[in-house]
């Protein structure tokens, strides 16, 4: 893995009273024509046994560079050229120039006593030096190596693999990764895709099984992780150098809610060749009610609403329940719940028993009802009014599998709900150690939307904070991405053990969070090419620039070109396709005949039951669930709640 090379000296440490060498920083000069630049790793050695610091080796990373000549003042150049810039270039002698570099110390060997950097020779770092400088030697070898390749450090014609420590990337020592960068360069997504592939390949066996849950929140970004992408020879060489196979993910499971029609999937992965891999994500009342807090905005958060939701959850849902007005209910679905609400409202109105039901004020009941009704309306397709749910395979997660939850086209409220529920379930199962894997990487893009630095304390933000601060003990690891790191909650980014930067916006770099970076590093970050990153990791005392190969998967925008999304199918065709997916023997024409004159709600319910049961004979099961043919009736409009007598000034 490591190649030993001994490059010739490229510079010499200099120290003056104004610019002394310290234990943490030093300066060195090089020839004007040199291969090193900002981010280069160098090794300093006392050149001779007689020199101070002989025997000491210091590793540093270049953080700034200066060039100047012996020109005392610019005016002298003007005088020398007689005011003609063209003449200045024609001067017979080129002024003496210097390339002076500032480097931050990465490591000193021996580490004690910690002393100023010796004024020795400067060498370009070799593979071995890079490993030493970044303290990777601690986890590259040994009985249980924990190294995860993250990219190639390249400088001066040399390149060396850079590894992250799995114990510090995926827990338990530290965990979480945060990646920032401007949008549109595909760097953030590409980097995470490559790193996930690397993790899957190099996750230490002694740490068990690992999976990833990726929330696709925009476009087709993560919709083609199982499809090979175009790679160039340079990419393949980098894969080989990093010992990561250049191939797409072998096990990818896609989940997407339905569109409002309840049968067409709400994803861009609907090409006929691929759509069969997409599982519908459908949640019912129980799934939503457990996370109803997500649906409440800041103004809604009060003890009364909480208490009523708890009441519904504990006493009503999935139980025989008497509404007190003579009605018996067994609430399993939103439709059942709606019937209960109507009974309550009607009962209160007819019985003139005031404005309180079971100690809950009618305004509170109406507010909760509105919120729950709202989610079933705004997220129709994700939340089903009736019928069973279809969820991620809790307890049956596969090793090295990626679970993509596509919520790109879901209402923001629904996205919050999906995220909150999925992460909560992950945490629950990881706590019980029954998820099927020992660690899960959760990839969330647009962190500044879900965990903003300012704004209300939402349930999602609290959950992200909880993962950031406690997830590493559970194996729940957050890989977050955002355009503006400064706009993400400090505790979320602060708890990320590994920080990755792609090309950054100059305005963002001007914010206080980047004050520790030198102006040269900032300039480099502002102009970073695609495929290059700056990485901070607990073992690295300074940020390191690495290059990574483009991911071996099909990029989203290429994917939708190669696999154009199919147009929405007519209701009958979509149902037939769903059944064919469950059982290839199903004949679509028979399905269409069966559906003639059937109510869509009934069809959706039967389909959901069939999907949940996964019977041997899907058509027969579906037919049984659909029941006997009934007379065609016009579809009923969704019943609205009749207005109540004014009982208070609350606007619910």
């Amino acid at each position: 893995m490591i190649e030993r090379r001994d490059p010739p000296p490229i510079g010499r440490v200099v120290a003056t009273e104004q610019k002394p060498a310290t234990p943490h920083q030093f300066h060195f000069w090089t020839a004007n024509e040199t291969s090193i630049g900002i981010g280069a790793i160098v090794r300093v050695e006392g050149a001779g046994s007689g020199e101070q610091g002989a025997g000491k080796v210091v590793y540093g990373v270049v953080t700034d560079g200066f060039a100047y000549s012996d020109l005392a003042t610019p005016l002298h150049d003007v005088v020398g050229a007689e005011g003609d810039p063209a003449k200045a270039a024609d001067s017979p002698t080129v002024r003496q120039e210097i390339r002076l570099w500032t480097a931050a110390v990465l490591r000193q060997r021996p580490e004690e006593p910690l002393q100023p950097v010796p004024l020795g020779q400067v060498h370009v770092a070799s593979d071995v030096d890079v490993a030493q400088a970044l303290r990777m030697d601690a986890y590259l070898g040994g009985a249980q190596p924990t190294a995860i390749p993250v990219g190639l450090y390249t400088s001066g014609g040399l390149e060396a693999p850079v590894y992250l420590d799995a114990d510090f990337l995926l827990g338990p020592e530290a965990a979480h990764l945060n990646i920032s960068g401007v949008s549109g360069l595909a760097t953030k997504t590409s980097a995470v895709e490559f790193l996930l592939g690397s993790i899957f390949q190099h996750f230490p066996p002694h740490k068990g099984r690992i999976a990833a849950v990726c929330f696709n929140v925009k476009g087709p970004d993560l919709c083609f992780l199982d499809q090979p992408g175009a790679l160039e020879d340079e990419d393949r060489r980098r894969y080989e150098r990093l010992a990561v196979p250049a191939r797409p993910f072998e096990r990818v499971r896609y989940y997407a809610p339905f569109k409002a029609d309840g049968v067409n999937l709400n994803t861009l992965r609907t090409h006929p060749d691929l759509v069969s891999d997409v599982e519908p994500l459908v949640w019912g009342l129980r799934e939503v009610l457990d996370y109803a807090e997500v649906l409440l905005n800041r103004d809604d958060i009060d003890a009364k609403a909480d208490a009523f939701i708890d009441f519904l959850s504990d006493r009503v849902v999935d139980k025989e329940f008497d509404d007190g007005f003579g009605g018996a209910h067994r609430v399993l679905t939103f439709a059942d719940l709606e019937r209960l609400f109507r009974s309550i409202f009607d009962g209160l109105e007819l019985s003139a028993r005031g404005d309180t039901w079971r100690t809950h004020h009618i305004a509170t009941i109406r507010k909760v009802r509105n919120r729950l009704s709202n989610i079933s309306t705004r997220c129709k397709g994700l939340v089903t009014d009736d019928g069973p749910s279809n969820d991620l395979p809790w307890g049956r997660f596969e090793d090295r599998a990626v679970y993509v939850v596509d919520v790109a086209n879901v209402d923001p409220l629904g996205q919050d709900l999906v995220f909150a529920r999925a992460v909560s379930k992950l945490r629950e199962h990881l706590e019980r150690r029954d998820l099927g894997v020992d660690a899960v990487v959760v990839f969330v893009d647009e962190l500044n939307k879900y965990a903003p630095g300012d704004g209300p304390e939402t349930y999602v933000k609290k959950m992200l904070l909880d993962i950031s601060e406690r997830g590493r003990y559970l194996g729940l690891v957050l890989f977050g991405a955002e355009q503006f790191r400064s706009q993400v909650h400090r505790r979320v980014v602060g708890n990320a053990g590994t920080i990755v930067f792609g090309r950054m916006d100059s305005d963002e770099l001007a914010t206080p969070g980047y004050q520790v970076l030198s102006p040269a590093i900032k300039i480099k970050l502002a102009t970073l090419p695609i495929g290059e990153l700056m990485v901070r990791h607990p073992h690295f005392t300074q940020p390191i620039f690495v290059r990574f190969p483009r991911p071996a998967v099909l990029r989203g925008r290429d994917g939708v070109e190669r696999f154009p999304p199919a147009a929405d199918l007519p209701f009958e065709d979509a149902v037939a396709r769903q059944l064919v997916k469950l059982d290839r023997r199903v004949r679509p024409n028979l399905v269409k005949d069966l559906l003639a004159d059937r109510r869509e709600e009934d069809v959706r319910r039967a389909l959901a039951h069939t999907r949940q049961a996964r019977p041997q004979d899907a058509f027969a099961h579906f037919k049984r669930q659909l029941g006997g043919r009934v007379a065609a009736a016009p579809a009923t409009a969704r019943e609205s709640v009749s207005p109540l007598n004014p009982i208070s000034d609350e606007p619910y």
Binding site: T16, E17, Q18, D70, L71, A72, T73, H76, D77, V79, G80, A81, E82, K87, A88, D90, S91, P92, T93, V94, R95, Q96
Partner: protein, 336 residues
């Protein structure tokens, strides 16, 4: 060698001293009138360089030397001087960047041996340092001893420069010139070489009087005088010379921007005087600042001097940037 011989004589009983004479940082020219013979014109005339095509050698070596010295101790009232002389040639090629192609340095002790106690003399001779003696009558008087030592240092520096230059002449390329900071006439080889040039910045030696002197010293910028032949002075060889003004002197001083150029005594020199002068005018850029003599100091010569100074022993010069009193500090010593 460094300070080892100094330590040896101090151990032998020499009273330590630390004195850097002002003159040790530079050198002076002799002040005398020698006269000159006309070569190019019957009387000294002014020639404009407008339209003169500058000579553009493919490569030019620039030679300069430095001298540094310090009184390191006294045996009685006899000073013992530690001197360092160095010279280098830096060659400027097509890339316009000077690179060192030859250099030499020497360290010497200057004193009067027979005025030293036996122990000190023995210690000094035992170290192997080259000892240069000043005259007995100069050694007897401290006020004369130091100027005498200074002359010896200058001689050592001139000899080193001459040796280096002559070595280089033997290997000078066909399109390569050697420009020396100072006179050529000290060396037979330099005086006779067709592509050796001496550039003299100090004008202690005067060759003209009356109107000719006025013409020489009031040359307009980018003008030269007629080529003349300085009258021989001591062992100096025959040479051709002319004055050249690099920068306008008006508003400054008569000698501001004034050079005297020396080249071999040959008709070709007269033919090429304007082209050589135009070349030297081109050498005004880049300016040799921050040196105070920048109006007359060619940048490549300044570059050689800088090179030599940074390589000279640190203990012979004070460090202007340091706030710490240097070894030559006049502050009283508080320890042994």
């Amino acid at each position: 060698m460094s300070r080892s011989w100094v330590d040896a004589i101090l151990a032998a009983g020499v009273v330590p001293a630390s004195y850097v004479p002002d003159a040790s940082v530079g050198r002076s020219d002799l002040e005398e009138f020698t006269g000159a013979d006309p070569v190019e014109d019957p009387t000294l005339r002014v020639h404009s360089l407008v339209g003169a095509r500058a000579l553009a050698p493919a490569a030019v070596g620039f030679l300069d030397g430095i001298e540094q010295w310090r009184v390191v101790g006294y045996a009685g009232v006899t000073p013992i001087v530690r001197a360092y002389v160095a010279a280098a040639i830096r060659l400027r090629g097509a890339d316009r960047r000077p690179r060192t192609i030859a250099e030499d340095a020497d360290e010497l002790a200057i004193t009067r041996l027979d005025r030293l106690p036996d122990a000190v003399r023995g210690a000094l001779e035992g170290t192997g340092v080259r000892v240069v003696e000043i005259a007995a009558e100069d050694a007897a008087q401290p006020a004369r001893a130091l100027p005498a030592a200074r002359v010896e240092v200058q001689k050592a520096r001139a000899a080193l420069e001459r040796r280096l230059a002559e070595q280089r002449l033997a290997r000078l390329g066909s399109d390569e010139w050697l420009v020396v900071d100072g006179v050529l006439s000290d060396s037979p080889a330099l005086s006779a070489h067709p592509r050796a040039l001496g550039v003299v910045k100090s004008h202690g030696a005067e060759y003209f009087e009356g109107p000719e002197l006025e013409r020489a010293l009031t040359l307009p910028a980018a003008h030269r005088t007629s080529v003349f032949r300085p009258k021989r002075r001591g062992a100096r060889r025959e040479i051709y010379s002319w004055y050249l003004r690099l920068w306008p002197w008006e508003g400054n001083d008569l000698l501001y921007g004034l050079l005297r150029v020396e080249a071999r005594a040959h008709p070709d020199t007269v033919v090429r005087a304007s082209r050589i002068s135009a070349w030297l005018v081109d050498e005004r850029a880049p300016l040799a600042t921050p040196d105070r003599r920048w109006d007359r100091l060619l940048y490549p010569i300044h570059d050689v001097e800088t090179y030599l100074r940074v390589r000279a022993p640190r203990d012979l010069v004070s460090h202007p940037a340091s706030r710490i009193p240097h070894p030559g500090s006049r502050l009283p010593r508080t320890g042994s």
